[in-house]
Symmetry: C2
Subunit: 378 residues, 2 copies
């Protein structure tokens, strides 16, 4: 029986980016390409290893398709920007590699998230548990195929998590022991934080309250730390940043991350599937404890309260019901209140950017990314 081993020796395993095209290494399109190249080469090696061992390639293929279907690559970009923020220069190979690890970790998060939320669509495609169910539908009942799809997606997420760790080890290997000892604990924190955030999210689903503090704690853990703060810090730590810089990056990142998720919540309710890649009714059916619904429940009159409580979080909510919820959210002014919170957080974060002891061009890129994250429409 063949061993499931990659054919290339460890030193050749990383499709290491050479040098960036510009002088400054701050071409984000190039960074995105490098991150994708590392991930694609990695997944290709996993497919080949499975084939050589006589094992099915279904799971690496599903992960590869998921990665290819979209995604903003915001975490890898922030990781590489964090590396530049710490004043590093030359080839950002380790930051790119760590960025690929973060994106693979994100794939894990989303694959499991869709299982937990029973979401059928992601990035405009069937969710992984749906596509794997379809693969095993032939000759099986629908229920059995769905069960296999869910189990397979749990395994696909697990494998993506393990593979993100493998990518990270490749990056960490090249670091000095002192830097590795600063990077890995940040990764450990990030991974635990997002899972605690997911747990808070899951256990508050279906019973939203008017408590915005609880809703803000959820987005702090499941998004702000995970999406903005830790990727920036991990990149900076790879370049040897001191605690002072890590703390300064955090102060900028957290309000920005909160704003990012508040925008996500608005788009989840008021956006279109064409732009967000998932049905606009999904979030309303799930009944998550968002800041938006908490504020609406605070602001609603008794009639509006009853409407929200009877419709929000109804698994079979139809388009008409969804339209009613949206109307109430707007009538209470909750949508505008969330817009105001986004603006406040953006205005808290951005001035901090100018005070950061980091290269001007990195500030420029972080500002552009912040603008995209906060004012996006998709």
């Amino acid at each position: 029986m063949t061993v499931l081993r990659s054919s290339a020796p460890p030193t050749q395993r990383t499709a290491a980016p050479t040098s960036p095209p510009g002088q400054d290494g701050l071409d984000l399109r190039w960074v995105r390409q490098q991150v994708d190249a590392v991930m694609n080469a990695f997944v290709d090696r996993k497919k080949s290893a499975a084939t050589r061992a006589g094992l099915p390639v279904d799971i690496p293929q599903a992960i590869g398709e998921f990665l290819a279907a979209g995604g903003k690559r915001i975490r890898p970009l922030l990781c590489v920007l964090g590396w530049h923020a710490a004043g590093a220069s030359g080839s950002p190979a380790q930051a790119v590699q760590a960025g690929a690890a973060l994106e693979m970790f994100h794939a894990f998060c989303l694959i499991h998230d869709d299982v937990m939320d029973h979401s059928d669509t992601r990035r405009g495609q069937p969710a992984v548990h749906r596509s794997l169910a379809a693969r095993h539908r032939s000759g099986r009942s629908r229920a059995l195929a769905e069960n296999i799809g869910i189990g397979s997606a749990i395994l696909a997420g697990d494998l993506a998590l393990v593979w993100s760790d493998e990518l990270l080890h490749h990056a960490a290997t090249e670091l000095t022991a002192a830097r590795r000892e600063r990077v890995l604990p940040l990764v450990d924190l990030m991974r635990a934080e997002v899972m605690y955030g997911q747990y808070l999210d899951l256990t508050s689903t279906g019973r939203p309250t008017a408590h915005t503090a609880a809703a803000l704690e959820i987005i702090r853990y499941k998004t702000a730390k995970y999406t903005i703060e830790r990727p920036l810090q991990i990149g900076a730590a790879i370049a040897g940043a001191d605690d002072q810089l890590l703390d300064a990056l955090s102060a900028f990142a957290l309000p920005l991350g909160d704003a990012f998720q508040l925008r996500d919540d608005l788009l989840g309710v008021f956006g279109t599937q064409k732009k967000t890649g998932k049905p606009a009714v999904d979030d309303l059916r799930e009944g998550k404890h968002t800041v938006l619904i908490a504020l609406a429940l605070q602001l609603a009159d008794p009639f509006q309260q009853r409407l929200l409580r009877s419709l929000y979080g109804t698994p079979r909510l139809d388009e008409e019901g969804a339209a009613t919820v949206r109307t109430v959210l707007k009538a209470t002014g909750a949508d505008q209140a969330v817009e105001q919170m986004i603006t406040n957080r953006y205005e808290q974060a951005l001035p901090l950017l100018d005070t950061l002891p980091i290269p001007t061009e990195v500030q420029h890129h972080l500002r552009a990314l912040a603008d995209q994250a906060v004012w996006r429409t998709a």
Copy 2:
């Protein structure tokens, strides 16, 4: 908002075992205690960190209870024996730490396995998804609580996986770069192998065939490599074993690992809940593609074939139906054929033990563990 950081600095994080009580360090009871002490201290730190950050301790608590509920600790023991096999002496702290990582990884596997298999019981206790569902039952419908239980158990497994990695990093930190580069790829292989094994297992469930080769491939990946071969090799690699020793350990481990799972399959069907910690009807209801059922389908007459095909893998199989399946499995002689396969594999593995270039006392302990694994009744 408090950060989810362990209070102890990294160097103090590991509850490092000092020296073993005997001269040789081969007191396995002591090893088991050390492994448990490392895991318990780790989980306690995670609970404290969650409490300090104002986060729920539900998940670390569920993981801690799961670890405390039982388990043979066979992987940590093999890891430490592998370390001794490579001729190491002194404090086995890194091997113990890696062993704790393997046991935490095993917790992850079982928690997700029970979700995928819809198993209600494990180690004589409610499965993690059941206990977490019960925790969130109050004020919710049963279906909603079950959904939260499943999502929470997916997260608990994810966190156990991430934490196993954290434990592993603690061990790897103390190793030379050269040894770390031999250990981590073995861990990467082990993790992918068990997930491929689980995928083969999952996708063949409900459609068992008479093909023993396919059933043997499943147990090779989901058990033999994962439970015996890799833990031994990982321990040996921590002590700097060369390829020759790793290969020799593999030759001994794989037939033994196959025998271990063949025994598990027999116990799953013919054992008692009191001894195995889970209902004896579970395996029959799941309808896994085991060597036992493959052989039975080969040996069965047409009437027995029909009985097996109509009953095996029926989710609501009752005790009477289960008794019928057991009678048919015995009548075909499949149970005795599996017993013979176990004996063959045991007799293939054990003589290799005598040829291994390892200390006599390690051979002695491996023989005792092999005997327990293969001839156990629980």
